[in-house]
């Protein structure tokens, strides 16, 4: 199994979720993160003084899937999350050793 972790624009969450759902990947975990990559932050102001917020709000999506679905999901995410501008985000893939469904105790393939 693999965990696919995608850090995307917050405004793209709905699109990515829809794309994944359509392809049959319903399960996922989402969290609010802030980050910085090539995109260097934006200038805000407070009481007439500018300052740079260099950590921008992003959304992290985590999906645990069998190994053979990884490339399809990467594709789905890329297509639905891309705008072509700096700040689109990244996808990272990790190995998952075990998965357990708490309710039933099912393991691995059955659990995800």
């Amino acid at each position: 199994m693999r965990k696919i972790e995608a850090i995307i624009r917050t405004t793209k969450l709905q699109d990515v979720k829809d794309a994944l759902e359509l392809a049959g990947y319903e399960s996922l975990t989402v969290s609010d993160v802030k980050g910085r990559g090539k995109q260097k932050g934006i200038v805000q102001q407070w009481r007439g003084r500018e300052y740079c917020v260099d950590l921008l709000p992003k959304t992290k999506i985590e999906i645990v899937v069998p190994e053979y679905n990884v490339e399809e999901i990467i594709d789905l995410i890329r297509k639905s999350a891309e705008t072509g501008s700096i700040g689109d985000g990244k996808i990272f893939v990790y190995a998952v050793e075990t998965a357990v469904r708490i309710r039933t105790g099912e393991r691995d393939g059955d659990a995800i």
Binding site: T11, D32, I42, V43, Q44, Q45, W46, E50
Partner: protein, 468 residues
Amino acid sequence: MIKKHTRSTVLFVLMLSIVFMAFSVPASAETVEENTEAIINLQAALTYVWLLLAGALVFLMHAGFSLVEVGLTRSKNTANILMKNFMTICLGVVVYWVVGWGIMYGTDAAGLIGIDQFFLIGADNAVWNNWFFQMVFAATGATIVSGAMAERTNFKAYLVYCIMMVALIYPVYGHWVWSGADLALLSGADSPLVKIMGAGFHDFAGSGVVHSIGGYSALAGVLILGSRIGKFKNGKAVAIPGHNLTFAFLGTLLLAFGWIGFNGGSTLDGSDPYMNLVIVNTFLAAASGAIAIMIATWIKTGKPDPSLTANGLLGGLVAITASCGSVENWAAIVIGIIAGIVVYAGVMFNENVLKVDDPVGAIAVHGYSGSWGLLSVGVFSVGIGNGILADAAYTAEAPGLIYGGINQFLIQTVGVIASILWAFVISFIIFKIIDVTIGLRVSEEEEIQGLDLAEHGIRAYPEFSMSK
């Protein structure tokens, strides 16, 4: 030589008079005439105090409007909404001083418009007193529009519109109804319209002048502006929850608080005992509106809906604003219940039929319910000099439909139509011009990002993690 009184001299004189009272010795032997004069002065003073305090309450309604709007929209537009409401009252003060008051209460031209008293030239304390009370009303119309157009309107474009509202749109209709000019289109004794209909248009504290005008102007604005991105999906309305219900309810309660000044103060006379009838009717209608809509949503969706219930209270308040000094208590309750239903149906109608996007329900609450309020005068008015209004100086002239009268209802209908036409058409034109010149709507990118960052480079709650 004129004696200057310091803060404590006044204080001292006051204390003295108390001492006199204690000994029951009048300050000096006064004549009947001097007493009469003192009484007249006191009557004026009581009116001053009453209208200043009533005006203060109405002023606080701008905080109420701000909070309701902020609460019912998303946090990424909060700073922008706060600024819009804040500048509405700030610009309102100055613009109504420069031009609005003059157009509304200046010397009448053809029953249509006032043409002097700009910059309050020649004002004295009586004028200042009235100006203050009228001024806090004036900015309200624009605030209503701001609510309906929230979350997507260009800030500069809104400011320009706001000026036009206070300078022109509001005071012109106000002139027709409240100027007291003999020819005043809807209410003057010599107005052809009034003569034909057989009664003057009655809008006690502004269901029409303030609320309808705001509501239908908002409708024009929203039609030109279009809906927020994501509001309609395949032609079906999507819920976009507001970010803070506590603010929405606090705002609603501040509005109800302010309405005591709004309706109560509209007696314009601190010695008019009918302010009591006015306030009681106001609260009966407000409560009924809220209860009605709560029950309606409970029945329809299985759960009593908080933000619509709050809207229902406002709907009741808006509707009774025209009729509060002219109807019986039970009628106020009926008016409120119907107002609640009008608001609920209006919100649904706007989203499902008209497909317009009004985040806070301003068009239904102020427009539709305002019109209902104007009509309700024609239905339930007791008519001056009858029953509970035997001594009333300031109320709807003729009895309403249920008492067998028809004239009042006719002129009310005309007034309703006039308010819709005037507000919608003039606002449509102004918004169109603004759209072409300045651009009425922010860019898609700015809207998605939120107007706070786009227009003000700021976030309203920078420390809180947001999940939307």
